[in-house]
Subunit: 284 residues, 4 copies
Amino acid sequence: MKNTATLLIACPDRKGLVAAIANFLYTYNANILHADQHQDDDAELFLMRVEWDLEGFALDMGAFDAAFAPIAERFGMDWKLKLSARRPRMAIFVSKYDHCLVDLLHRWHTGELACDIPLVIANHDDCRRLAEFYGIPFYVIPVTRDNKQDAEAQQRQLLAEHHVDFIVLARYMQVLSSEFTAAWPKRVINIHHSFLPAFDGAKPYHRAHERGVKLIGATSHYVTEVLDDGPIIEQDVTRISHRDTVDDLIQKGRDLERIVLSRAVRWHLDHRVLVYGNKTVVFD
Amino acid sequence: MKNTATLLIACPDRKGLVAAIANFLYTYNANILHADQHQDDDAELFLMRVEWDLEGFALDMGAFDAAFAPIAERFGMDWKLKLSARRPRMAIFVSKYDHCLVDLLHRWHTGELACDIPLVIANHDDCRRLAEFYGIPFYVIPVTRDNKQDAEAQQRQLLAEHHVDFIVLARYMQVLSSEFTAAWPKRVINIHHSFLPAFDGAKPYHRAHERGVKLIGATSHYVTEVLDDGPIIEQDVTRISHRDTVDDLIQKGRDLERIVLSRAVRWHLDHRVLVYGNKTVVFD
Amino acid sequence: MKNTATLLIACPDRKGLVAAIANFLYTYNANILHADQHQDDDAELFLMRVEWDLEGFALDMGAFDAAFAPIAERFGMDWKLKLSARRPRMAIFVSKYDHCLVDLLHRWHTGELACDIPLVIANHDDCRRLAEFYGIPFYVIPVTRDNKQDAEAQQRQLLAEHHVDFIVLARYMQVLSSEFTAAWPKRVINIHHSFLPAFDGAKPYHRAHERGVKLIGATSHYVTEVLDDGPIIEQDVTRISHRDTVDDLIQKGRDLERIVLSRAVRWHLDHRVLVYGNKTVVFD
Amino acid sequence: MKNTATLLIACPDRKGLVAAIANFLYTYNANILHADQHQDDDAELFLMRVEWDLEGFALDMGAFDAAFAPIAERFGMDWKLKLSARRPRMAIFVSKYDHCLVDLLHRWHTGELACDIPLVIANHDDCRRLAEFYGIPFYVIPVTRDNKQDAEAQQRQLLAEHHVDFIVLARYMQVLSSEFTAAWPKRVINIHHSFLPAFDGAKPYHRAHERGVKLIGATSHYVTEVLDDGPIIEQDVTRISHRDTVDDLIQKGRDLERIVLSRAVRWHLDHRVLVYGNKTVVFD
C-alpha cells in the first residue's frame, strides 16, 4: 500500500479555493492520487477530499500544519489531515449477536480494513471465543438498568487506555448515554436494522413485517444523542415477500447489516466520509 | 392470449383445502395453468390463487357459483372469480404531472395492461392532449378547498356511468375523502413517492434530501381512509448521493414511480394481489 | 423446527396431477405447509414441490414409497422425498481463499444451514485453523498436474467414508475431472466469480475490468463436465465504476460470491431446487 | 438553468496538472461548479471534467481556445470544451418497437434531456404518429439487403442537412456499416438488450431464457465497427425467475432498455462521458 496523506476540507464556498489548494500541493511536488469536491449550494459550503502520494512530497509532515495554516485561515477552513501510515485504532462493541463481529474481524484479517483493533468490549460473554480466535482482547462489562453510568465509565477508561480513535457498534444492544455520545462525536458508528427514518427504535423487523413492506433495509450512521437520528453513512435494502416470517426477515437482514456496516467502516477508515450538519458526504 | 379463469381464495387454514379445490377443478376437466398458495401462520389463514384454461373446462361459467358454493361454504371461503375474457375497466386520475400517465397509457397501448380505460379524470387540463393521443376521453373536474364534496360527486357519477372497476391515482395531488375511499375499498391504487412508512405525507423528496438518506423509494398501495397507510402492493428504491439536489431526486423518483405503479397495476389486473388485514399477498 | 417431509416431482404435464397428489396427502391427513408448482410449456413438463408437517401424518414414512408408487407410475413421475429429520451431509472443498468458507461455516454455526459438515477438503493448508475453529475435520490433498487422478481418488474415498451427500466448491481452484462430475451429478455446487455466461473460465475480474463493464457478477451453479456451464441456481451483480481497480473488483466480488453461494446452498438444503434440462426451478 | 462551460481533458498523468488548470480558471475568475478527475494507473492517463459558471467569467469564450492552448500543449492534452448554451442536436433511429422512443421523447419534452431533436429516422413507418405528436419530423428510409449502401447515404445526407451532433439507436434493428460507424466515432449510442459481453448479437432474450440465467440485462454503448463491442456507458439488470417466458423477458427487458438508454443519453448530453481505449469514464 502506498504511503499517502489525505486532506479533508470544509469551508464557505469561494472562488480560488481549488487553485489555492492545488498550488500549495504542487509547490511541494505532490503527486495527487485522488481529488474530489462537492459544493452544497443550500449551505454555501465547499467540501473537498484530496489524497496524494508522500513519496517525493517535499514537505516534512511535521511541518504541514504550519505550512498549510495561512491558506486554511484565509478561506476559513475546517480541515483534517490523515496519514495512511497512522493506522486508526478501532474498538468494537458487541452484545450476543456475532454476525457483524465475525464479518468485521474477517475483513480486518484479510487486510480489507486498514486499522488496528486493540479490543472488543461486550456486555455478554458470548463472542469471546470468536474475538480471541483473531487474537483480539475481549472485555466483558455487564450493563444493567442500575449500573449504566458505572459501566460506561469503565468502557471509557478502557477506550482511553487503548488509545481508541473510533468505535463500531456491531449490533451492541445498549443505548449509549448522551454524555458518552457527546464525548465521542462523529466517532461512533452504529448499524440500525431498518431503512431509517422508517422503523427507528426497537424491533424494526417485527414492525416491518406487521406493516407489510416489500423491502427491508439497514442503515449505518454516526451516533448522536438522538436515537437513530445521526448522520447516515450508508443504507441498503433487500426484497422480501409475503412468504417471509419475522425470522426470515431477521436472517435476510443479517446479510444487509454486515454489508452496510462494513462499507461504512471502510469508508470511515479511508477518510471518505465528511459530516456536515446532520448529513454526510461520502467521497468516491 | 388464453381464455382463463382465476380463483382467489382466503379462508381459515384447514386440512383438505387443496384436495377439495383440486378435485373440484379436476371433476370439470380443468387444465391448471398456475396455482400458488400461502399460509399466514399468525393469522391462521389460507390464501390461494389458481388459474386454469377454460378450453375444455366442462362447467359453464354461468353455473360456476352454484357449483362451487358447497365447497366455499364448507371451508368458510372468501372468494372471487375472475375471467380473462372480462377486461377490467380502469379509470386514471391525474393532476399536472404526466410521467405516470404517459407510462400507463403506453403500456396499455402495447397490450402490457389487459384492461379498458374508459376515461381519465383530472383536476387540471394539462394532460388532455396526451390522453386524447391515445383516444381516451378526458374529463376535467377542478377541485378547490370549497368544492371537494361536489367535485367528488361528479367524479363518482362519471365512474358509475363508465362502469369503472378500479381507479389508479397517477400522481393525483388531491386527497380523497373517506366517503370516497370507503365506497371504493381495495379498488383505488395510489403511488406515493417515498419508501413508506418513511416520509408519508407531503414533500417526501424534500424531506429525504433534508434527512440525508442514501436511497429514495416509491410505494404503490391500495388507498384507505388513513393517508399513505393502506396495504402495500409494491415498493422499490434507487440510490442517490450527496451530489443530488432535490430536483435530481424528483427526476430520479419519476422513474421509480413509473416502474412501481405499473407493476402494481399489472399485478392487480392479473388478479395476483390478495388483500388481507392491512397487507397484501402478491402471488408469483 | 418442524418435522416435515418434502416431495419434489417432475413429470409430463397432465390433467389431474394436482388433484391426485393433494388427495393422496389428504388421505393420510397431511397438513400441507407449502406447495408450489410450475409448468414449463416448452418442455411440457410439470414440476412441483410440496412440504407437509409429519405431525399427525397417518402414513409411516417407511411405507411411503410403496404407497406413493401407483400415483408416481400413473403419471410417469421423477420424484424425490426429503425428510427434514435427515440432515444432509455437506463437504466443502477449498483452496487458499477463505472468504466463502468463513461465511458458510458461520451460517452453519448459527443454524442458518440445516446440514452436517463432516469434513473440509483442501489442496492447501491455509484454511485449517478456520475449519478447526468450528470443529470440522480438515484434510489436505495436494493436487498437481501429475497426481490429479490419484488426488481425486483420495477425495472420493473420503467422501464415501464420510457419507457425504453433496459438495460445495467454496472457491476451490481446481477443475474436477469429468469422471468426478459424472459420479456426482447435480450434487456439486460451484461459485463462479462472474455473471455467467459472460467471462466463463479464468480470471473473470481481470477480463471484466478490461472490457469496462459497469456491473460485476457471481454465479452459483451445479457442476457438469462442461466448465462453468451447468444449471444456474443463483446469480447477482454489484455496481462498479471506472475508479475500481482489479483489486477493488476482487474485493467487491468477495461479498457477491459469499451471498450468491450461500443462497444456492440454502435453497439446495431446503430442497427448493429442481434441475431439469440444463436449467433449475427454484421454488419460493 | 445556469450558463456554464465544461472542459473534458485526457492526457498523460503528470504533476502540476490540477494546479495549472485551476490557476487558469481562477485567473479568469471562474466559479467552479463541479470538478472531477480520474487517474488510470495502468494507462498512466489523467482524465478530468470541470464545469464552471460563465456568469462573471472574465474570458470571452471566442478567445478560450487561444488562451488555453499553451496549457493544453504543455501537458499534451486531448480536450473538448462544451457550452451549455449550445444545445446538442440528437437524431433518433428507430424501427418498429417504440418503447425507447416514447421514453426519450417524453424525457425531452419534460426538459430532462437538454438537446434539440431535429429528426427521427426509421426504416418502418410505425412510429410516425408518436414522433409527430411531439412535433419531430419523421423520415422513413426502408433498408433491405440490397439497398443498404444507398439507404445509409440518404441517412447521412439527412444528418448533415440537420446538423446532427450525435445519433441514438433506439432499438434500431439494422446493423450500421463500418463506413457509417467510422464516420461517426463516439457519436452513435446504442442500446443492446443483454448484459454484455453475455449474449451479444441476435435474440439475446431467447438465449438468456435457454441458458436459464436468473437476471437479464441491458447495455448502452458507443457503436464501433465491431458489433456490440464498443465502449460501455451504462448497464443494468433485473431479476427473472423460472416462471418468466421469453415474452416476459422481453417485457421486463423493455423497462431496462428504457432506463439504461436514457441514462446513457443524459450523461452524454451532460458531457460526463469520456471515452478512452475501449472504455468510458462516467464522471459523477
